[in-house]
Protein backbone atom coordinates (compact mmCIF):
# COMPACT_ATOMS: atom_id res chain seq x y z
CA UNK A 1 0.00 0.00 0.00
CA UNK A 2 2.92 2.36 0.47
CA UNK A 3 3.05 3.45 -3.16
CA UNK A 4 -0.67 4.24 -3.09
CA UNK A 5 -0.37 6.20 0.14
CA UNK A 6 2.52 8.21 -1.30
CA UNK A 7 0.53 8.87 -4.45
CA UNK A 8 -2.45 9.91 -2.36
CA UNK A 9 -0.28 12.35 -0.39
CA UNK A 10 0.94 13.83 -3.67
CA UNK A 11 -2.71 14.19 -4.71
CA UNK A 12 -3.60 15.89 -1.42
CA UNK A 13 -0.74 18.36 -1.66
CA UNK A 14 -1.07 19.21 -5.35
CA UNK A 15 -4.35 18.31 -7.00
CA UNK A 16 -6.69 18.57 -4.03
CA UNK A 17 -6.05 22.28 -3.29
CA UNK A 18 -6.78 23.04 -6.97
CA UNK A 19 -9.91 20.89 -7.10
CA UNK A 20 -11.18 21.26 -3.56
CA UNK A 21 -14.13 23.53 -4.34
CA UNK A 22 -14.98 21.31 -7.26
CA UNK A 23 -15.01 18.13 -5.13
CA UNK A 24 -17.10 19.91 -2.49
CA UNK A 25 -19.62 20.91 -5.12
CA UNK A 26 -19.67 17.39 -6.56
CA UNK A 27 -20.28 16.01 -3.07
CA UNK A 28 -23.09 18.47 -2.38
CA UNK A 29 -24.83 18.25 -5.75
CA UNK A 30 -24.03 14.70 -6.78
CA UNK A 31 -22.26 13.64 -9.95
CA UNK A 32 -23.49 14.75 -13.37
CA UNK A 33 -20.95 13.37 -15.86
CA UNK A 34 -21.51 13.96 -19.57
CA UNK A 35 -19.52 10.88 -20.54
CA UNK A 36 -19.60 7.18 -19.91
CA UNK A 37 -16.27 5.67 -20.94
CA UNK A 38 -16.03 1.90 -21.30
CA UNK A 39 -12.37 0.96 -21.36
CA UNK A 40 -9.95 -1.88 -20.75
CA UNK A 41 -8.54 -2.53 -17.28
CA UNK A 42 -5.03 -2.35 -18.79
CA UNK A 43 -2.72 -0.16 -16.71
CA UNK A 44 -1.41 1.59 -19.81
CA UNK A 45 -4.77 2.82 -21.12
CA UNK A 46 -6.19 4.99 -18.36
CA UNK A 47 -9.06 7.20 -19.59
CA UNK A 48 -8.63 9.97 -16.98
CA UNK A 49 -4.98 10.28 -18.04
CA UNK A 50 -5.53 10.12 -21.80
CA UNK A 51 -8.38 12.66 -21.68
CA UNK A 52 -6.85 14.84 -18.99
CA UNK A 53 -10.16 14.51 -17.17
CA UNK A 54 -11.22 16.50 -14.14
CA UNK A 55 -13.09 14.83 -11.27
CA UNK A 56 -16.76 14.45 -12.15
CA UNK A 57 -16.33 14.33 -15.92
CA UNK A 58 -16.10 10.64 -16.74
CA UNK A 59 -18.20 7.78 -15.42
CA UNK A 60 -15.89 4.86 -16.13
CA UNK A 61 -16.41 1.13 -16.57
CA UNK A 62 -13.28 -0.96 -16.93
CA UNK A 63 -13.09 -4.65 -17.69
CA UNK A 64 -10.79 -6.90 -19.71
CA UNK A 65 -10.76 -5.58 -23.31
CA UNK A 66 -13.44 -2.94 -22.65
CA UNK A 67 -16.25 -5.22 -23.74
CA UNK A 68 -19.95 -4.39 -23.68
CA UNK A 69 -21.89 -7.66 -23.56
CA UNK A 70 -25.09 -7.97 -25.57
CA UNK A 71 -28.39 -7.14 -23.89
CA UNK A 72 -29.62 -10.18 -22.02
CA UNK A 73 -32.84 -10.36 -20.12
CA UNK A 74 -31.98 -13.29 -17.88
CA UNK A 75 -31.65 -12.52 -14.22
CA UNK A 76 -27.88 -12.99 -14.00
CA UNK A 77 -25.67 -10.36 -12.41
CA UNK A 78 -24.21 -8.25 -15.16
CA UNK A 79 -21.72 -5.73 -13.85
CA UNK A 80 -21.08 -3.88 -17.09
CA UNK A 81 -24.76 -3.83 -18.06
CA UNK A 82 -25.70 -2.51 -14.60
CA UNK A 83 -23.12 0.29 -14.86
CA UNK A 84 -24.36 1.11 -18.36
CA UNK A 85 -27.96 1.31 -17.15
CA UNK A 86 -26.99 3.45 -14.16
CA UNK A 87 -25.00 5.85 -16.36
CA UNK A 88 -27.64 6.16 -19.08
CA UNK A 89 -30.93 5.91 -17.19
CA UNK A 90 -30.08 7.37 -13.79
CA UNK A 91 -27.30 9.84 -14.58
CA UNK A 92 -28.41 10.70 -18.10
CA UNK A 93 -24.95 10.80 -19.68
CA UNK A 94 -24.95 12.41 -23.12
CA UNK A 95 -22.21 10.34 -24.71
CA UNK A 96 -20.73 6.88 -24.48
CA UNK A 97 -17.18 6.26 -25.61
CA UNK A 98 -15.84 2.74 -26.08
CA UNK A 99 -12.07 2.95 -25.79
CA UNK A 100 -9.86 0.15 -27.08
CA UNK A 101 -6.08 0.14 -27.12
CA UNK A 102 -2.97 -1.36 -28.68
CA UNK A 103 -1.32 -4.52 -27.28
CA UNK A 104 -4.54 -5.54 -25.57
CA UNK A 105 -4.06 -8.77 -23.60
CA UNK A 106 -7.75 -9.58 -23.90
CA UNK A 107 -7.44 -9.54 -27.68
CA UNK A 108 -4.33 -11.72 -27.46
CA UNK A 109 -6.36 -14.20 -25.41
CA UNK A 110 -9.14 -14.16 -28.01
CA UNK A 111 -6.60 -15.05 -30.72
CA UNK A 112 -4.77 -17.71 -28.73
CA UNK A 113 -7.02 -19.69 -26.41
CA UNK A 114 -4.02 -21.15 -24.61
CA UNK A 115 -3.60 -17.79 -22.84
CA UNK A 116 -6.84 -18.33 -20.97
CA UNK A 117 -5.91 -21.81 -19.79
CA UNK A 118 -5.72 -22.00 -16.01
CA UNK A 119 -7.18 -18.52 -15.60
CA UNK A 120 -10.72 -18.93 -14.29
CA UNK A 121 -13.56 -16.89 -15.88
CA UNK A 122 -11.29 -15.35 -18.52
CA UNK A 123 -12.30 -17.78 -21.26
CA UNK A 124 -15.99 -17.21 -20.51
CA UNK A 125 -15.55 -13.47 -20.74
CA UNK A 126 -13.35 -13.48 -23.83
CA UNK A 127 -15.86 -15.78 -25.56
CA UNK A 128 -17.86 -12.60 -26.13
CA UNK A 129 -15.19 -11.72 -28.73
CA UNK A 130 -15.83 -14.78 -30.89
CA UNK A 131 -17.45 -12.72 -33.70
CA UNK A 132 -14.37 -10.48 -33.70
CA UNK A 133 -12.02 -13.44 -33.88
CA UNK A 134 -13.95 -14.98 -36.75
CA UNK A 135 -14.13 -11.70 -38.64
CA UNK A 136 -10.33 -11.37 -38.86
CA UNK A 137 -9.58 -15.06 -39.45
CA UNK A 138 -8.38 -14.29 -42.98
CA UNK A 139 -5.72 -11.80 -41.82
CA UNK A 140 -2.46 -13.75 -41.79
CA UNK A 141 -0.03 -11.16 -40.48
CA UNK A 142 -0.24 -11.54 -36.67
CA UNK A 143 0.41 -7.87 -35.88
CA UNK A 144 -2.11 -6.69 -38.45
CA UNK A 145 -4.67 -9.13 -37.13
CA UNK A 146 -4.14 -7.92 -33.57
CA UNK A 147 -4.81 -4.32 -34.57
CA UNK A 148 -7.81 -5.31 -36.70
CA UNK A 149 -9.30 -7.18 -33.76
CA UNK A 150 -8.71 -4.28 -31.37
CA UNK A 151 -10.69 -2.08 -33.73
CA UNK A 152 -13.37 -4.71 -34.35
CA UNK A 153 -13.73 -5.19 -30.61
CA UNK A 154 -14.69 -1.52 -30.27
CA UNK A 155 -17.20 -1.92 -33.09
CA UNK A 156 -18.68 -5.04 -31.51
CA UNK A 157 -19.19 -3.21 -28.22
CA UNK A 158 -20.87 -0.34 -30.07
CA UNK A 159 -23.19 -2.80 -31.82
CA UNK A 160 -23.95 -4.48 -28.52
CA UNK A 161 -24.74 -1.11 -26.95
CA UNK A 162 -27.50 -0.64 -29.50
CA UNK A 163 -29.07 -3.93 -28.37
CA UNK A 164 -29.97 -2.25 -25.06
CA UNK A 165 -33.43 -0.71 -25.55
CA UNK A 166 -32.71 2.24 -23.24
CA UNK A 167 -29.59 3.04 -25.32
CA UNK A 168 -31.17 2.58 -28.75
CA UNK A 169 -34.14 4.76 -27.79
CA UNK A 170 -31.93 7.65 -26.64
CA UNK A 171 -29.63 7.37 -29.64
CA UNK A 172 -32.62 7.54 -31.93
CA UNK A 173 -34.07 10.69 -30.40
CA UNK A 174 -30.67 12.38 -30.16
CA UNK A 175 -30.25 12.41 -26.39
CA UNK A 176 -27.27 10.06 -26.52
CA UNK A 177 -24.32 9.68 -28.85
CA UNK A 178 -22.03 6.68 -29.21
CA UNK A 179 -18.37 6.82 -30.20
CA UNK A 180 -15.43 4.48 -30.50
CA UNK A 181 -11.72 5.14 -30.19
CA UNK A 182 -8.44 3.27 -29.87
CA UNK A 183 -5.32 4.40 -28.03
CA UNK A 184 -1.89 3.43 -29.35
CA UNK A 185 0.35 2.89 -26.35
CA UNK A 186 3.67 2.97 -28.19
CA UNK A 187 3.02 6.22 -30.03
CA UNK A 188 0.39 7.78 -27.78
CA UNK A 189 -1.94 8.28 -30.73
CA UNK A 190 -5.70 8.32 -30.40
CA UNK A 191 -7.76 7.21 -33.36
CA UNK A 192 -11.48 7.73 -33.56
CA UNK A 193 -14.00 5.59 -35.35
CA UNK A 194 -15.66 7.37 -38.24
CA UNK A 195 -19.07 5.75 -38.11
CA UNK A 196 -19.83 6.60 -41.74
CA UNK A 197 -16.78 4.89 -43.25
CA UNK A 198 -16.15 2.37 -40.49
CA UNK A 199 -12.52 3.49 -40.42
CA UNK A 200 -10.47 4.63 -37.47
CA UNK A 201 -8.98 8.05 -38.10
CA UNK A 202 -6.06 9.46 -36.08
CA UNK A 203 -6.71 12.72 -34.26
CA UNK A 204 -4.56 15.29 -36.08
Amino acid sequence: MDRLIQGYRAFKSRRWPEERAHYEELAAKGQKPDYLVIACSDSRADPATIFDAAPGELFVVRNVAGIVPPYETDSGYHGTSAALAFAVVTLGVKQILVLGHAQCGGIAAAIDGRLTEGVPFLGNWIALLEPVRAHSAHVHDPAARHVAMERDCVKLSLDNLMSFPFVAERVKDGRLRLNGARFGIADGRLEILDRASGEFVAVE
Binding site: R3, R9, W16, R44, A48, D52, R62, A82, T90
Partner: protein, 232 residues
Protein backbone atom coordinates in the same frame (compact mmCIF):
# COMPACT_ATOMS: atom_id res chain seq x y z
CA UNK B 1 -16.41 14.20 -28.36
CA UNK B 2 -15.11 17.78 -28.31
CA UNK B 3 -14.32 17.79 -24.61
CA UNK B 4 -12.50 14.45 -24.90
CA UNK B 5 -10.47 15.53 -27.92
CA UNK B 6 -9.51 18.73 -26.15
CA UNK B 7 -8.43 16.69 -23.13
CA UNK B 8 -6.47 14.32 -25.35
CA UNK B 9 -4.65 17.28 -26.93
CA UNK B 10 -3.78 18.52 -23.46
CA UNK B 11 -2.46 15.04 -22.64
CA UNK B 12 -0.32 15.06 -25.79
CA UNK B 13 1.07 18.46 -24.95
CA UNK B 14 1.86 18.06 -21.28
CA UNK B 15 1.80 14.46 -20.09
CA UNK B 16 2.93 12.54 -23.16
CA UNK B 17 6.36 14.20 -23.46
CA UNK B 18 7.03 13.36 -19.79
CA UNK B 19 5.80 9.78 -20.08
CA UNK B 20 6.83 9.02 -23.62
CA UNK B 21 9.71 6.69 -22.81
CA UNK B 22 7.60 4.98 -20.14
CA UNK B 23 4.82 4.28 -22.67
CA UNK B 24 7.33 3.14 -25.29
CA UNK B 25 8.94 0.73 -22.84
CA UNK B 26 5.59 -0.64 -21.71
CA UNK B 27 4.47 -1.12 -25.28
CA UNK B 28 7.54 -3.27 -25.89
CA UNK B 29 7.76 -5.37 -22.76
CA UNK B 30 4.08 -5.40 -21.75
CA UNK B 31 2.41 -4.09 -18.64
CA UNK B 32 3.66 -5.03 -15.18
CA UNK B 33 1.37 -3.31 -12.72
CA UNK B 34 1.85 -4.05 -9.03
CA UNK B 35 -1.71 -3.14 -8.13
CA UNK B 36 -5.13 -4.38 -9.08
CA UNK B 37 -7.51 -1.65 -8.06
CA UNK B 38 -11.21 -2.43 -7.86
CA UNK B 39 -13.10 0.85 -7.72
CA UNK B 40 -16.50 2.34 -8.37
CA UNK B 41 -17.41 3.76 -11.78
CA UNK B 42 -18.36 7.04 -10.06
CA UNK B 43 -16.87 10.06 -11.86
CA UNK B 44 -15.76 11.62 -8.58
CA UNK B 45 -13.68 8.71 -7.40
CA UNK B 46 -11.00 8.15 -10.02
CA UNK B 47 -8.12 5.95 -8.84
CA UNK B 48 -5.46 7.36 -11.19
CA UNK B 49 -6.29 10.83 -9.87
CA UNK B 50 -6.50 9.99 -6.17
CA UNK B 51 -3.22 8.04 -6.28
CA UNK B 52 -1.37 10.32 -8.73
CA UNK B 53 -0.72 7.14 -10.69
CA UNK B 54 1.65 6.90 -13.59
CA UNK B 55 0.73 4.91 -16.69
CA UNK B 56 1.42 1.23 -16.04
CA UNK B 57 0.99 1.30 -12.27
CA UNK B 58 -2.65 0.37 -11.75
CA UNK B 59 -4.68 -2.38 -13.41
CA UNK B 60 -8.18 -1.06 -12.79
CA UNK B 61 -11.58 -2.69 -12.65
CA UNK B 62 -14.49 -0.28 -12.30
CA UNK B 63 -18.10 -1.25 -11.79
CA UNK B 64 -21.03 0.14 -9.82
CA UNK B 65 -20.03 0.20 -6.12
CA UNK B 66 -16.71 -1.68 -6.64
CA UNK B 67 -18.45 -5.00 -6.12
CA UNK B 68 -16.51 -8.27 -6.04
CA UNK B 69 -18.89 -11.12 -6.85
CA UNK B 70 -18.54 -14.39 -4.93
CA UNK B 71 -16.12 -16.81 -6.55
CA UNK B 72 -18.37 -19.79 -6.93
CA UNK B 73 -21.58 -18.30 -8.26
CA UNK B 74 -22.52 -19.62 -11.64
CA UNK B 75 -24.66 -16.65 -12.51
CA UNK B 76 -23.31 -15.94 -15.94
CA UNK B 77 -21.52 -12.71 -15.19
CA UNK B 78 -17.81 -12.95 -15.64
CA UNK B 79 -16.47 -9.46 -16.29
CA UNK B 80 -15.16 -8.53 -12.85
CA UNK B 81 -14.07 -12.04 -11.94
CA UNK B 82 -12.22 -12.47 -15.24
CA UNK B 83 -10.34 -9.22 -14.66
CA UNK B 84 -9.40 -10.26 -11.12
CA UNK B 85 -8.16 -13.65 -12.32
CA UNK B 86 -6.21 -12.06 -15.18
CA UNK B 87 -4.56 -9.50 -12.90
CA UNK B 88 -3.55 -12.03 -10.26
CA UNK B 89 -2.71 -15.08 -12.36
CA UNK B 90 -1.46 -13.64 -15.65
CA UNK B 91 0.01 -10.31 -14.51
CA UNK B 92 1.03 -11.36 -11.00
CA UNK B 93 0.01 -8.15 -9.29
CA UNK B 94 1.26 -7.96 -5.70
CA UNK B 95 -1.62 -6.00 -4.25
CA UNK B 96 -5.37 -6.16 -4.68
CA UNK B 97 -7.08 -3.06 -3.34
CA UNK B 98 -10.82 -2.40 -3.09
CA UNK B 99 -11.71 1.29 -3.03
CA UNK B 100 -15.15 2.45 -1.96
CA UNK B 101 -16.21 6.07 -1.66
CA UNK B 102 -18.64 8.50 -0.03
CA UNK B 103 -22.08 9.15 -1.52
CA UNK B 104 -21.95 5.93 -3.50
CA UNK B 105 -25.09 5.58 -5.61
CA UNK B 106 -24.64 1.82 -5.81
CA UNK B 107 -24.59 1.42 -2.04
CA UNK B 108 -27.63 3.72 -1.81
CA UNK B 109 -29.42 1.50 -4.32
CA UNK B 110 -28.52 -1.60 -2.32
CA UNK B 111 -30.02 0.00 0.78
CA UNK B 112 -33.27 1.09 -0.82
CA UNK B 113 -34.71 -1.15 -3.50
CA UNK B 114 -36.83 1.72 -4.80
CA UNK B 115 -33.71 3.48 -6.11
CA UNK B 116 -32.86 0.70 -8.54
CA UNK B 117 -36.40 -0.47 -9.27
CA UNK B 118 -36.71 0.92 -12.76
CA UNK B 119 -33.06 0.52 -13.75
CA UNK B 120 -32.42 -2.69 -15.68
CA UNK B 121 -29.62 -4.91 -14.30
CA UNK B 122 -28.85 -2.55 -11.42
CA UNK B 123 -31.06 -4.18 -8.81
CA UNK B 124 -29.53 -7.60 -9.43
CA UNK B 125 -26.02 -6.19 -9.35
CA UNK B 126 -26.33 -4.23 -6.11
CA UNK B 127 -28.17 -7.13 -4.48
CA UNK B 128 -24.68 -8.63 -4.23
CA UNK B 129 -24.09 -6.05 -1.48
CA UNK B 130 -27.09 -7.12 0.62
CA UNK B 131 -25.10 -9.05 3.24
CA UNK B 132 -23.05 -5.89 3.87
CA UNK B 133 -25.73 -3.25 3.97
CA UNK B 134 -28.73 -5.01 5.49
CA UNK B 135 -27.77 -4.36 9.09
CA UNK B 136 -26.96 -0.74 8.26
CA UNK B 137 -30.39 0.31 7.08
CA UNK B 138 -32.02 2.60 9.62
CA UNK B 139 -35.81 2.51 9.99
CA UNK B 140 -37.54 4.72 7.45
CA UNK B 141 -34.37 5.00 5.37
CA UNK B 142 -34.77 6.15 1.82
CA UNK B 143 -31.35 5.52 0.30
CA UNK B 144 -30.58 9.13 -0.55
CA UNK B 145 -26.86 8.50 -0.79
CA UNK B 146 -25.77 10.57 2.22
CA UNK B 147 -25.10 9.14 5.64
CA UNK B 148 -24.36 5.69 4.25
CA UNK B 149 -20.80 5.76 5.53
CA UNK B 150 -21.04 2.56 7.56
CA UNK B 151 -22.65 0.70 4.68
CA UNK B 152 -19.97 1.93 2.27
CA UNK B 153 -17.29 0.62 4.60
CA UNK B 154 -19.12 -2.66 5.10
CA UNK B 155 -19.36 -3.06 1.31
CA UNK B 156 -15.57 -2.79 0.99
CA UNK B 157 -15.10 -5.35 3.75
CA UNK B 158 -17.54 -7.72 2.06
CA UNK B 159 -15.63 -7.42 -1.23
CA UNK B 160 -12.39 -8.21 0.59
CA UNK B 161 -13.96 -11.19 2.29
CA UNK B 162 -15.11 -12.46 -1.10
CA UNK B 163 -11.68 -11.92 -2.65
CA UNK B 164 -10.29 -14.22 0.01
CA UNK B 165 -12.75 -16.82 -1.21
CA UNK B 166 -10.96 -16.90 -4.58
CA UNK B 167 -8.58 -19.86 -4.22
CA UNK B 168 -5.78 -18.23 -6.24
CA UNK B 169 -5.94 -15.17 -3.98
CA UNK B 170 -6.10 -17.05 -0.68
CA UNK B 171 -3.12 -19.13 -1.76
CA UNK B 172 -0.96 -16.14 -2.66
CA UNK B 173 -1.99 -14.20 0.43
CA UNK B 174 -0.90 -17.11 2.59
CA UNK B 175 2.59 -17.17 1.09
CA UNK B 176 2.88 -13.38 1.23
CA UNK B 177 3.01 -13.06 -2.55
CA UNK B 178 -0.15 -10.96 -2.51
CA UNK B 179 -1.71 -8.40 -0.19
CA UNK B 180 -5.38 -7.49 -0.04
CA UNK B 181 -6.42 -4.08 1.24
CA UNK B 182 -9.48 -1.86 1.52
CA UNK B 183 -9.94 1.90 1.20
CA UNK B 184 -12.71 4.46 1.21
CA UNK B 185 -12.37 7.90 -0.37
CA UNK B 186 -14.43 10.77 0.95
CA UNK B 187 -15.35 13.08 -1.90
CA UNK B 188 -16.37 16.06 0.24
CA UNK B 189 -13.15 16.37 2.24
CA UNK B 190 -10.66 14.36 0.20
CA UNK B 191 -9.85 12.06 3.09
CA UNK B 192 -8.72 8.55 2.28
CA UNK B 193 -9.33 5.94 4.95
CA UNK B 194 -7.64 2.57 5.09
CA UNK B 195 -9.05 -0.62 6.51
CA UNK B 196 -7.06 -1.75 9.52
CA UNK B 197 -7.16 -5.53 9.25
CA UNK B 198 -6.52 -6.00 12.96
CA UNK B 199 -9.37 -3.88 14.25
CA UNK B 200 -11.69 -4.02 11.25
CA UNK B 201 -11.95 -0.22 11.45
CA UNK B 202 -11.25 2.33 8.73
CA UNK B 203 -8.63 4.91 9.70
CA UNK B 204 -7.81 8.13 7.87
CA UNK B 205 -4.41 8.32 6.23
CA UNK B 206 -3.57 11.72 7.68
CA UNK B 207 -2.99 10.60 11.24
CA UNK B 208 0.79 10.56 11.69
CA UNK B 209 2.51 7.32 12.48
CA UNK B 210 -0.54 5.26 11.69
CA UNK B 211 0.90 3.60 8.63
CA UNK B 212 4.13 2.32 9.99
CA UNK B 213 2.51 -1.09 10.28
CA UNK B 214 1.78 -1.20 6.56
CA UNK B 215 5.37 -0.38 5.72
CA UNK B 216 6.65 -3.57 7.29
CA UNK B 217 9.08 -6.00 5.75
CA UNK B 218 8.00 -8.20 2.88
CA UNK B 219 6.43 -5.35 0.96
CA UNK B 220 8.24 -4.14 -2.07
CA UNK B 221 9.67 -0.71 -1.55
CA UNK B 222 7.96 2.21 -3.21
CA UNK B 223 9.69 3.65 -6.21
CA UNK B 224 10.04 7.36 -5.49
CA UNK B 225 11.38 7.90 -8.98
CA UNK B 226 7.92 7.09 -10.24
CA UNK B 227 6.32 9.72 -8.12
CA UNK B 228 6.27 12.96 -9.93
CA UNK B 229 6.45 15.10 -6.83
CA UNK B 230 7.44 14.11 -3.35
CA UNK B 231 4.48 15.03 -1.21
CA UNK B 232 6.05 15.40 2.15
Amino acid sequence: MDRLIRGYREFRKTRWPEERSNYARMAKRGQRPEYLLIACSDSRSDPATVFSANPGELFVVRNVAAVVPPYGDDTGFYGTRAAIAYAVMALNVRNVVVMGHAQCGGVAAAMDSKVAESIPFLREWVSLLKPAVESKIPKGHHGHGHGNTDAERAAVKLSIERLRGYPFIAEREKTGALHVDGLRFDIANGILEVLNHDTGEFEPVERPGLFSRWFGSGRRAATPANIRTAAE
